[in-house]
């Protein structure tokens, strides 16, 4: 049989609201700053999103480079698949995290960043070890290539659901005796705690607005999608902007935009424009898929499904239970921030959080997107699903994809499961009405 292949039509440009466009500009500007760091005499620190000590790095005039964000950007631009395979060609197992492999593959192919410009080699690797074991191995792999100072900063796991004085003491002592002296040495800048206080003050302001935005999803209809849209919203604060005036401006702007949508009774903006009638309100656990991000999102908004709360938007810090960076106790505050990162919370805490989200956001149920790459999130999710379902009486469902490896995104399977799930929600509603 002859198959005539025609060039696929280019998808229509995604519709973005003003805050999304502003966020994109910020991210692009940051990549440009990174790319020209050497010529501008700036030094670069690579670190991770969970436990990202951006305020501290700024005290040393270090530019923040986040390898996970690079992998995400490469996933969104459909470049990560080739990078993952490149890393596998160099002996990395098909079984392990694709963020790591995307990063290593990108490095093997010249370290060209998502903006098409070469990323500078880092001057320091700040191994903020928070809630993900893979981080440790990732930077052990990178330091071999970059041959630069590597600083381990260990965050104890919240195994018993509480933060103890000993945990904080250990972290503060690491900062004072190890992390800060090494950053001083690498950067040549003396640490000034008042500078840190100023940044933390700014962080807290932006955090207030972020929480207001995320909690706006309690409205009906929700003015935001707290998962797909949420990823845009967390970008600046989880990335290189926490503690800056730019972040304060962005989150104020975003909050005003969202409050306006609430006043107008509007739902979220999707890549195809304003979402139609809100039919399903969901809580989502787990990271998204990035290689088919828009297609994935469309499967939700085409059905009128909006995500009203998600755990992923807490992976770089959990603010909705009251934590704010505190300039009065700067180092303790950095420690508490790292401890509170979502994946650093034990399973019972995660179940409690999700249960509360389902109840407080009046969701129809819980959906888990289980990511092959990420055992930190994924191990235990089937139990989480059962527990939340049992406690809330709301239906839960499970889909499986990957972060940035396109080989693990099966659109037909995901769509099929989502459709079944929405039917389940309908049946549950019908049952409730009949009762």
């Amino acid at each position: 049989m002859t198959v005539i292949s025609r060039p696929k039509a280019k998808p229509a440009d995604a519709i973005k609201d003003a805050s999304m466009a502003k966020q994109k500009e910020m991210v692009n500007a940051h990549y440009d700053r990174l790319a020209s760091a050497r010529e501008n005499g700036e030094k670069v620190a690579a670190t991770f999103v969970p436990g990202n000590l951006n305020e501290l790095l700024m005290c040393f005039d270090l530019v923040n480079n986040l390898p996970e964000v690079n992998a995400i950007q490469n996933g969104l631009r459909r470049q990560s698949g080739a990078f993952v395979m490149e890393a596998e060609k160099h002996g990395h197992s098909e079984d392990v995290c694709t963020y790591v492999k995307s990063d290593i593959g990108m490095m093997a192919k010249g370290n060209i960043g998502p903006n098409g410009k070469k990323l500078p080699d880092p001057d320091v690797l700040l191994l903020s070890y928070t809630g993900c074991f893979t981080f440790m191995k990732w930077f052990e792999l990178l330091r071999k290539e970059y041959n630069c100072e590597t600083i381990m900063f260990q965050t104890p796991y919240m195994a018993d659901g509480k933060i103890t004085k000993d945990m904080i003491a250990y972290m503060v002592k690491q900062l004072k005796q190890d992390v800060i002296p090494k950053l001083e040495r690498v950067s040549g800048v003396k640490f000034d705690i008042d500078r840190l206080r100023e940044y933390l003050k700014k962080s807290a302001k932006a955090e207030d607005d972020l929480v207001a935005v995320l909690q706006s999803a309690k409205n009906k209809p929700s003015p935001i999608d707290a998962y797909f849209g949420g990823i845009y919203y967390i970008g600046p604060i989880f990335g290189a902007f926490r503690g800056t005036d730019a972040a304060i401006d962005y989150y104020r702007f975003l909050r005003e935009e969202v409050e306006e949508r609430v006043r107008q009774g509007k739902g979220p903006v999707t890549p195809d424009g304003d979402m139609g009638k809100e039919r399903y309100r969901l809580v989502v656990e787990g990271p998204p898929n990035y290689t088919n991000f828009r297609q994935f999102w469309k499967m939700f908004y085409d059905e009128g499904a909006v995500v009203v709360a998600s755990s992923y938007t807490k992976v770089g810090g959990t603010y909705d239970f009251g934590f704010r960076h505190n300039p009065d106790e700067p180092l303790e505050s950095l420690a508490e921030y790292c401890l509170n990162v979502y994946t650093n919370r034990n399973l019972p805490m995660r179940v409690d959080m999700l249960e509360n989200y389902v109840n407080e956001y009046e969701a129809d149920g819980l959906l888990i997107n289980s990511i092959k790459s990420c055992n930190s999130f994924s191990a235990g999710q089937l139990l989480i699903m059962r527990e939340v379902e049992k406690r809330t009486g709301k239906p839960a469902a499970f889909i499986e994809t990957d972060l940035v490896d396109p080989r693990y995104f099966s659109a037909a399977n995901v769509k099929n499961r989502l459709e079944s799930y929405f039917q389940m929600v309908e049946q549950k509603r019908a049952g409730a009405r009949a009762a």
Binding site: H92, Q177, L383
Partner: protein, 394 residues
């Protein structure tokens, strides 16, 4: 225990095999029933402060998965296909009531899966204790050391809550002494095997170590002593095998058949990372001063390197494997890593690079605790052994 005063290695290994295949942990149940108030505390690989359980009057019980004997029915319902096997079979052991006599479980910080299992245990077995043992990755005494001492203190409080009795410093010192003896004996077995691998087959050594996970340490000391004596007094045929180090089995256990297959394929295993907890500390833990500080110092400065542990010094990365090859006169390394094991599989390329730099031959394959098909492994190990004989050092 062994009834005969002059046991042969075969008598001892027969007893070890009975203990290994007993997934109801009969000996541990009996031990608990012998005296009221005794507690049994499970621990997962690769390291746990067993001395503290012993000092609390308890039996530390190694829970090392279900191997290839346990049919996992419930456990699979808790895990996605891309997660390793040991948490599934551990859940199966719990759900099926095989651990109903165990008072609490310790989960060392080996990886995200085992870490999360500690929380799952809290949810699934709310009437049992579950303690995550957060191990330090900073190796300074006043940083990671202080933190680890605080973790050990918390662990003592947790154990006291189960036993209802305080743990004294003297009791901990006495327990350290008993475990020092156990580690000394096991180091002797390893030395004997490296010197005469034909007299200490690794499948026997493995069973001997596993026995120590499910019986009181005092009994195990007797057993290891008896094995050493018997092994020294026998002479088995020497084969023209290649000498290899096996690396990667630090958590999920290799099927016994895998170890036998490597040996049958023409390899003498002269060092390995099987059941590291049995020889985690390289020398005796000090009996002087504060015992928790002694345990902490031993962990920081005198313990094994293994993939789940951070190596602060890039220059030292993987050298432990090179040292092991040199010290044990090995001719190559077999990486036997568990499928879906993040620490192991992320570490492997780094270790391979170090070996390559030192011209040490190597092969790699993956396994699961229930792997049944050994033919490919036998072929791969056999080819490796042959290639060493044919091409190395000629």
């Amino acid at each position: 225990m062994l009834d005969k005063p002059n046991s042969t290695t075969s008598d001892i290994i027969k007893r070890c095999e009975e203990l290994f295949t007993d997934l109801y942990f009969t000996r541990a149940r009996e031990w608990k029933a012998e005296k009221p108030g005794r507690i049994v505390v499970g621990f997962m690989p690769y390291y746990a402060p067993r001395e503290l359980v012993h000092a609390a009057g308890g039996l530390p019980l190694g829970i090392f998965g279900g191997g290839d004997q346990l049919e996992v029915i419930h456990g699979d319902a808790y895990y996605q296909s891309y997660i390793c096997r040991i948490p599934r079979s551990t859940v199966e052991l719990g759900v099926s009531g095989r651990l109903d006599f165990v008072d609490g479980m310790m989960f060392p910080s080996i990886c995200d899966v085992i870490r999360n299992l500690s929380g799952m245990w809290k949810l699934m077995f709310p009437n049992k204790g579950a303690r995550y043992i957060d191990l330090p990755h900073n190796f300074e005494d006043d940083l990671g050391g202080e933190f680890y001492v605080s973790e050990l203190k918390e662990t003592c409080h947790w154990l006291e809550g189960m036993s209802g009795k305080p743990i004294t410093d003297d009791a901990i010192r006495a327990s350290i002494a008993v475990f020092n003896e156990n580690r000394r004996l096991i180091r002797e077995v390893y030395e004997l095997r490296a010197a005469q691998p034909w007299n200490v087959p690794s499948s026997e050594l493995y069973l001997l170590l596993r026995a120590g996970m499910v019986i009181p340490v005092e009994e195990h000391n007797e057993m290891v002593r008896a094995y050493l004596e018997a092994a020294r007094n026998q002479q088995r045929p020497i084969k023209d095998n290649s000498r290899v180090v096996v690396c990667g089995a630090f958590c999920e256990q290799p099927p016994l058949n895998l170890i036998k297959s490597i040996e049958l394929a023409g390899c003498y295993i002269v060092d390995d990372d099987f059941i590291l907890v049995t020889r985690w500390e390289n020398s005796d833990v000090s009996l002087e001063g504060d015992p928790l500080t002694s345990l902490s110092r031993a962990y920081l400065h005198d313990s094994k390197s293994t993939p789940p542990k951070y190596e602060p010094d890039e220059a030292k990365k993987g050298l432990y494997l090179v040292d092991s090859v040199r010290k044990n006169r090995a001719e190559g390394v077999i990486f036997a890593m568990t499928s879906f094991c993040d620490p192991g599989l992320l570490e492997r390329p780094m270790l391979q690079a170090v070996l390559k730099k030192h011209d040490i031959p190597q092969i790699a394959f993956k396994y699961a605790e229930n792997s049944g098909q050994m033919q490919p492994i036998r072929e791969q190990a056999g080819t490796f052994a042959d290639s060493i004989k044919l091409w190395s050092g000629a």
